[in-house]
Symmetry: C2
């Protein structure tokens, strides 16, 4: 597929080096993180700044070329992978990687879309500020991608999703116009909320080129603890108590089942099962404290001792140092790694109202067993947000690949139906991309789908911005 | 203006008692809070529930009748007042006043649009939870109106605006369809953010009938202090220090000039000037603490003593009790009352980046003096959000009415230009309504105005939802 006049114009605009055509150059852009989707592209285009992005979009419009914006290409729903036609272009935002401004007194930072999340965090830290968005891919994902997918992560309980951390945006519209909405204001009620429309739209309504982000005071200390409990209902009771006693100091609340902890210990023998006895569930709690480490530890100890007194918690470990805190987080972060090491799983990124988590698990675990007897549940996640990574692993004696082939679609359909019955979301933090756009539509009302289509048609009447993503067929 | 078939259909739908036609019944709905706007209406319609609202909107569409939604009618920008034609109807949401659900474990509450804000706060408190939105009109404004205008208030520093406090909405579209988006989820990335599009749209894109709101753990104590300082720059340094030392416990940070405090003491002699000496500025700080009153007071004392050591603060009063805390808040809340008591002011509800507040005041005060020599500045507001009520009072020897008549438009234009030059907003928390829709357009880019019009046309092609509000002529 060659479109010579278009490619010539791209080269004139971007320079020859930034119009990639050879598969050795383009391959990494054409396959998604989980290697579920592999596309083709007319070219991979690497503009250097927002003005070039705008000019490039106008060029694509003039030539009728569909565009797929891409950041760090770490998405988990195929939202940044082109289709198989070879007629689309990938617009990589990675060269837009400047931190434009840090305004410490305004608690804001303005970053271009292609900045790595880790670099945004570092720029904030350099100014003695915290940018709290934190997720596994932070070393390779970009802030533009985080905003386009409204990324979540481990600190949502206290700081919100990417959406809540953004005050202003710069966006190139599907017509190639540059909207400068880079406001650093905490209050601004002068018209429609365009910002939040572009956030989470996965590049289907426009292309984010920069953002003004909220910063926070850096806490003096972070302290974690691990609590052993008998059930998710006890974990919910602990959450309640922790929110009452620690209020906004509670920045992490992660649930892990006994099976998850044993899996980690089995795959990574240096990470031992943390308790002397086995308990059905464990919760990792994190406090972020602006006073001192001593204050945080004292509060955690009082909290857990109250929880033991109230028979909510059976055993607990409070970290004695930052190193111990990190070790507890490492345990939590090892769960997906241990999972991958044992073969493919049927994965679900779901959320239900926090109060519904125990009921959801009680209802859904048996459904899965009925479909796939002996399947092992790898249930963990951000309980404080009602967000579970509700993963289903093959029975010990069944090959993971054939397990997936046989059960994936039935299990996923049952899980999603149950999520919907519990008023939940089938994509809590990963977005829809191409992976879940049709599944999601099954649970949305015709009114909502019609409103989404109205928006898409109004903003992108030619349908050239990341086609066949988010919206259902 | 009579439209008999339409009114008959309205009576059939709502019952005769809820179709108000006589001026004795309708008057209160047709004039805004500040009595700046007085409209006429074909009728004032009072549906009882969301289904009736939807049916009513379909009826209005069928008869081509423009609709003006109204909550508590406490808005400050004329957004809920009909025009003078007598062809529009006011749809009052006040009868939709049920708290549909409180889910304490999910930290959510679902309220109908017509619930008074104070009743939402009370329902949360009954479940030992906090709904933190708080503003002067809370006893008479409705949560639907708060969301339609994205209301701010005194707790935005910690909890955000109304937008940040809402998880889900129920909305009647301009076509009279009911969208059930009442989700109680902390994470949900399944499509476009319709919720935030309706929030702050002042009823021009649809009609909010209910909302699912975020609750928080009730703090164990709230403690306030009043600090005396030499300048807004010192206040900014204090904010910085307070955020570092108290982090998210800081829930209020209100600036008041010496003139404001003297004005209160003059109008309400029982409220004395709080310090032994006069200082140029005062800051009210509030901490909300989940531990104890003693912990909060200790932290406030450490904070203020550090601020004195660093020569940021000249003098300080830390409240010794809840009563003293309330007395300090009362001082702050008396400023607008003292202002009203001395006659009309030229009022501005503006925001700039927090870091720009000192520069904005240094630049703008002289501009106002040049236009209106001797004018007295009544400057106070939510410094933590960069939101100032930057009000201009007549010189002592000039009649307020004639002062307004002579200077209002020139002063306001100069203030707004300066706000814009400092990257600020000319409507921080009151919205645009009819008051500021044209002024606001002056500072918006053609791209942004075009996107706003695109949205309006796509959602409300007939232009029947709250016409001539928000968008410029």
């Amino acid at each position: 597929m060659i479109n010579a006049p278009f490619l010539t114009a791209c080269r004139d605009l971007l320079g020859r080096d930034h119009v990639l055509l050879e598969s050795i150059d383009t391959d990494a852009y054409l396959v998604d993180q989980r290697k579920r989707y592999r596309g083709h592209a007319l070219a991979v285009l690497r503009p250097a700044n927002a003005a070039q992005v705008a000019a490039l979009v106008r060029l694509c419009v003039a030539h009728g070329v569909p565009m797929v914006p891409q950041g760090g290409n770490t998405g988990l729903a195929g939202g940044a992978t082109p289709d198989a036609s070879g007629r689309q272009v990938v617009i990589s935002l990675r060269r837009l990687d400047r931190i434009r401004q840090v305004d410490a007194n305004n608690m804001t930072l303005t970053a271009e879309a292609g900045c790595l999340l880790a670099n945004v965090q570092a720029a904030a830290a350099e100014a003695q500020r915290l940018f709290p968005l934190s997720l596994a891919a932070e070393g390779s994902c970009t802030i533009g991608g985080n905003l386009a997918t409204n990324a979540g992560g481990t600190a949502v309980l206290r700081y919100g999703n990417a959406r809540e951390l953004c005050l202003g945006l710069e966006v190139v519209t599907p017509q190639g116009e540059l909207w400068d909405g880079l406001r650093g204001l905490r209050k601004d009620n002068t018209g429609y909320d365009l910002r939040d429309l572009f956030i989470g739209a996965e590049g289907t309504l426009g292309l984010i080129t920069a953002a003004t982000l909220k910063l926070f005071a850096q806490p003096a200390a972070r302290m974690t603890a691990l609590a052993a409990l008998d059930s998710p209902a006890h974990a919910l009771a602990l959450l309640n108590l922790a929110q009452r006693m620690a209020g906004p100091l509670l920045t992490g609340f992660e649930l892990m089942s006994d099976f998850c902890l044993r899996l980690v210990a089995q795959v990574f023998p240096q990470q031992r099962y943390p308790f002397a006895h086995r308990y059905a569930q464990a919760v990792l709690l994190e406090l972020s404290d602006n006073e001192s480490e001593a204050h945080a530890r004292d509060l955690l100890e009082r909290l857990l001792s109250a929880a033991v007194d109230q028979s909510i918690v059976r055993d607990a470990i409070v970290a004695n140092s930052l190193a111990q805190s990190n070790a507890l987080w490492h345990l939590r972060e090892s769960i997906p790694l241990a999972q991958s090491a044992t073969g493919l799983n049927i994965k679900h990124d779901i959320a239900v109202p926090v109060s519904q988590v125990p009921a959801f698990l009680d209802a859904t675990d048996p459904l899965v067993q009925r479909i796939a007897p002996g399947a092992r549940m790898v249930t963990f996640g951000h309980l404080g947000d009602g967000n579970l990574h509700y993963n289903v692993m093959a029975p010990e004696d069944i090959d993971p690949d054939s397990f997936l082939g046989r059960y994936q679609s039935a299990v996923t359909a049952a899980v999603h139906d149950s999520v919907h019955a519990h008023h939940g979301s089938i994509s809590a933090e990963h977005g829809l991309g191409q992976l879940k756009r049709n599944a999601s539509a099954k649970y949305k009302s015709p009114v909502e789908l019609a409103l989404m289509r109205t928006l898409k048609t109004a903003f992108d009447p030619l349908g050239l911005m990341n086609p066949d993503k988010v919206l259902p067929d």
